[in-house]
Amino acid sequence: MEFGLSKEHQMLRDMLRQFSNSEVQPLAKEVDELERFPIETLPKMAEIGLMGIPFPKMYGGAGGDNLGYAMAVEELSRSCATTGVVLSAHVSLGASPIYEFGTEQQKQKYLVPLAKGQQLGAFGLTEANAGTDASAQQTTAVLDGDHYVINGSKIFITNAEYADTYIVMAMTDKTKGTRGISAFIVEKGTPGFTFGPKEKKLGIRGSATSELIFENVRVPKENLLAKEGHGFKIAMKTLDGGRIGIASQALGIAQGALDATLSYTKERKQFNRPISAFQNTQFMLADMATQVETSRLLVYRAAWLKDMGLPYAKEAAMAKLFASEAAMSVTTKAVQLHGGYGYTREYDVERMMRDAKITEIYEGTSEVQRMVISAAYLK
């Protein structure tokens, strides 16, 4: 049994931490305050290979693995959860389905620029009436000659409007239920494909979240991903991997809050002592650190299983469930230990607390994770 990071992973972590501290941290407050997409960070992330970190070099990737990818999302999120989710949605949701299910031609055309970071990816599954019940899709795709005509809309889409390439689920055969859903690659700029306004969110406020609107959008037949009717399976597999990304984001948020709280409690004095000298503070810090470390073990194990080619859906669900709930708990405690200052926007921890909540909701709510986990045990 081996719990240490390899030399390569250690070097990667150092590089990621440095990047996060120097390029991501300085923007985090502004990105949140102005609800601004951190667009200038993307070329820098591309430059060091983050945008295609788990993909082979032959597809423009960095030739890394899922553990390295998890660490990248974690380290970005330590400074800025918005930047973390931009990467997570791009890699796990935008690029991965093409890598996993695309034809060679589709990979060359769409995956390569995504992995190189020349383009940004996004994923459109959720609809107004199809959230947790993702099978209740109402967007339709009808074959007309050598094009599919897509009609409908998708809500809450991360990276929307900033992304170039979208994976979109639509019903090709309603009579078949989940087996009637198909996945399509849709390019920004296709006539009829427009965006709703940006959602105003509690947290991850810099992340662009909008509606995708499809009005008679004609997509070439060759942009069908895998086969007709395979969309639901593709979506579920994609979300399994995406959960590692969100679990990593939650882990990063929690780690960031813990770091901030450790240094604050050592500096802040009350009753002539630093507040870290009080046992209440110490115990809370101990709990927080334990939650962070537990999250990390779960997240890394899920990533490692994926890298080994072993089943990882249950483990990814556990990692996402635990890490997101840990992030919520750790950030709440972090605000508490910061006292009144923690409630002000002057300090980072209130932002982290706001950012943490979404990790319990998106890419499958905590309740969905529990469904996945219990189903794996009760089968």
Binding site: Q138, T140, S153, G196
Partner: protein
Amino acid sequence: MNHSNYKGVMVYIEQRQGEIQKVSLELLGKGLDLAKELDEKLTCVLLGSHITHLSEELVYHGAEEVYVVDDPSLSHYMTEPYTKALSAVINEHKPDIVLMGATAIGRDLGPRVSARLHTGLTADCTSLEIDPETKNLLMTRPAFGGNIMATIICPDHKPQMSTVRPGVMKKPVRNTSLSGSIRTVEADLSPKDMNVELLEVVKVEKKRINIEEATTLISAGRGIGSKDGVVTIESLASELKGEVSGSRAVIDLGWVDKDRQVGQTGKTVRPNLYVACGISGAIQHVAGMEESEFILAINKNPDAPIFEVADLGIVGDVHKVVNAVVTELKAYKAKNI
């Protein structure tokens, strides 16, 4: 109380500036049915100043007797003189049933008169029947915001009084061969009855009303296609005397004002008629309008979830359907004026 003295159905005729209100004619129609069932007379009361000439019209609509109080102190509706005059007519002629429209005036006058006569009043009725056994008037009205229908009787006091919601009863066919008697009544009105001084009557051009208070809403969704599409929606709204509202999608696009948004993050409405034009019917929208009395949905997608809550659904292009409806409405109105 000796009930046998009280006979017949009496309708209070509401006139405003010498114009008989439609609800009063509707009540003559209903009153006629009730009177027939009781085998008694239908009468009516007309109060106002210089209004005697309207009496004929009431006869043509079925009144056998018209009691007219024509007095300068009744030139504008005011609670006290009208109450006094109507009470005087009722006391003199002792009708078994008194009906009036549940308008702003009827709702003000009804309770005053019933209290003065010490009898029962049911407000805002939507159905009136005669109990075949007891001959009591069964007055049915929606209560608790329309969630329950209450049927109320007034067995021990006379007359049985009711205000009736405009629009639910049918106007009788005007028949100029009908005849009836017109009687002028002195109500003993004097200047000291004028306990309110009327300074000014203002008639305000009807402005856009709050969509929560509108009885008819024509609501636009993204399916109207563009900002210009709102014109189509407005044409239907003006034809139906309704207000324009919209889904979040059209509000976000700036096609319709924010204060017109229906749904979870907008307003919750329950008009009598809700026309959903090109609205898919996401639950966030439906939550704000599903309590509407009658929902008409127009959408080109037969699978749109809005059809699940609609009473009537039309699958088709919003603009074509709405324009056709507007044309039909205009034709109908031209024929029926």
